[in-house]
């Protein structure tokens, strides 16, 4: 009887171990910290570092966009929080926005971040209630970033210097 328990238990244990190995190779964590983060995501217990998020938000409000992004990336190392990814995209928008031209590279990275944000909040449209922002949904931000990447005749309109940053 005990031998049968060992057989069944051993089979179950080693199959679980094999699943862990497949998961490790699929997620390719680079450090032990990333292993634990990936495990938290898989278990549904992943949470961002709220303290770092708030610190990044205060940097964002002081227009320190790069520093804010660094903090947000540390707050959400796995890039799994829609809220944080929205703010990262917004920081790319604000830093890349100019009266005469938009920084294409920053806008491209902004589109990537906002797409991540939309993908992570696919169950319900993401809305951010922040009075400091003039765009509150990921969809609005995405359209603004994509328009900034498009070239048209309106780009040569001298009146565009009068437009305002959102």
């Amino acid at each position: 009887m005990q031998a049968k328990i060992i057989k069944v238990g051993g089979l179950g244990f080693t199959i679980a171990y094999a699943a862990f190995i497949v998961w490790i190779y699929a997620t390719e964590p680079r450090t032990f910290k990333e292993v634990t983060t990936s495990a938290e995501i898989a278990a549904g217990t992943y949470q961002i570092d709220q303290e770092k998020f708030n610190s990044a938000l205060s940097l964002f409000r002081r227009e320190q966009f790069r520093a804010a992004r660094d903090e947000w990336q540390r707050a959400d190392p796995a890039q799994r929080d829609a809220h944080t990814q929205f703010y990262i995209a917004y920081s790319f928008y604000r830093e890349g926005w100019g009266r005469v031209y938009f920084d294409q590279e920053l806008f491209k990275q902004g589109v990537e971040a906002v797409n991540r944000s939309i993908a992570l909040s696919s169950t319900s449209p993401l809305t951010i209630e922040d009075p400091d922002l003039r765009m509150h949904t990921a969809a609005e931000l995405k359209v603004e970033l994509e328009q900034g990447l498009e070239s048209s005749w309106s780009d040569v309109n001298p009146l565009k210097v009068l437009r305002t940053r959102k």
Binding site: V8, G10, L11, A18, I21, E28
Partner: protein, 249 residues
């Protein structure tokens, strides 16, 4: 009581220890540590390692290390059959990852090593092997590949420029070394590979002992085979056994 202990220990080795050992080899065989970033790099087994693992499995069967007919059969309980098939799967992937750990990741050396592994394993298919000789041969094969990759080639790929790189640079002055280029890994990669290969060989040795744990079954199989021969063939077998000197090594 001792019979019960023996049965429990045997079950522990067959269904827990061996699959765990082989799966650990499968986990560590593709693990490298970056030279500069010091982060983990997981390299999935290339297709050629699966081919090498398949040839190794054939060799295990031919060398008598894997006896399918004893480990999987109609007369065994279904759970035992499933557990044994599972163990064969773990051996297959452990073999693939053991090759992965000693195979250079890219460049000319990757193909050279792959070719020599294929050549050796293919030639071995036609050689006369028993389990002990097979294990010795595999130990030498992996040991040589380990020394070549993790000592000689690691020196060649070293970002600081090891002694081999300087010698190769002097010898091949003016000739491009682009085809010999490969990724540089931290020295800990070599330690991981050594541990992986040691675990793989230890697993195979343990498996060989586990396979030979039931001499009566082997004896019965041999005797049954012998009884199916004709009288003349039985006589030849008896003469051959009596004439053959006992292998002393």
């Amino acid at each position: 009581m001792s019979q019960a202990n023996r049965s429990r220990n045997r079950a522990l080795v067959d269904f827990v220890v061996l699959p765990f050992l082989f799966l650990t080899v499968a986990l560590l065989g593709g693990l490298r540590v970056g030279a500069e970033s010091r982060t983990f790099i997981f390299i999935a087994p290339p297709l050629v390692t699966l081919l090498l693992a398949a040839l190794s499995m054939l060799l295990f069967v031919r060398g008598g290390l894997l006896r399918f007919h004893e480990w999987v059969g109609n007369d065994l309980p279904p759970v035992t059959n499933v557990a044994h098939i599972w163990m064969f799967i773990t051996i297959f992937f452990a073999s693939a990852q053991a090759f992965n750990s000693v195979l250079p990741e890219r460049g000319l050396f990757h193909w050279l090593f792959s070719f020599f592994f294929l050549w050796t394993l293919w030639n071995n298919q036609f050689s006369s092997f028993d389990a002990r000789r097979l294990l010795r041969s595999l130990t030498i094969l992996f040991g040589t590949a380990f020394v070549l990759k993790h000592i000689l080639l690691a020196n060649l790929y070293s970002p600081e420029g090891g002694w081999l790189k300087r010698v190769a640079g002097a010898l091949l002055q003016g000739v491009t070394l682009g085809t010999l280029d490969g990724p540089a890994f931290a020295p800990s990669t070599g330690y991981i590979a050594f541990f992986t290969l040691a675990l793989y060989i230890a697993g195979l040795i343990l498996f060989a002992f586990a396979s030979n744990g039931e001499p009566t079954v082997v004896t019965h199989t041999l005797v049954d085979g012998y009884r199916q021969l004709s009288a003349a063939e039985q006589l030849s077998v008896r003469e051959a056994i009596l004439d053959d000197p006992v292998d002393q090594d």
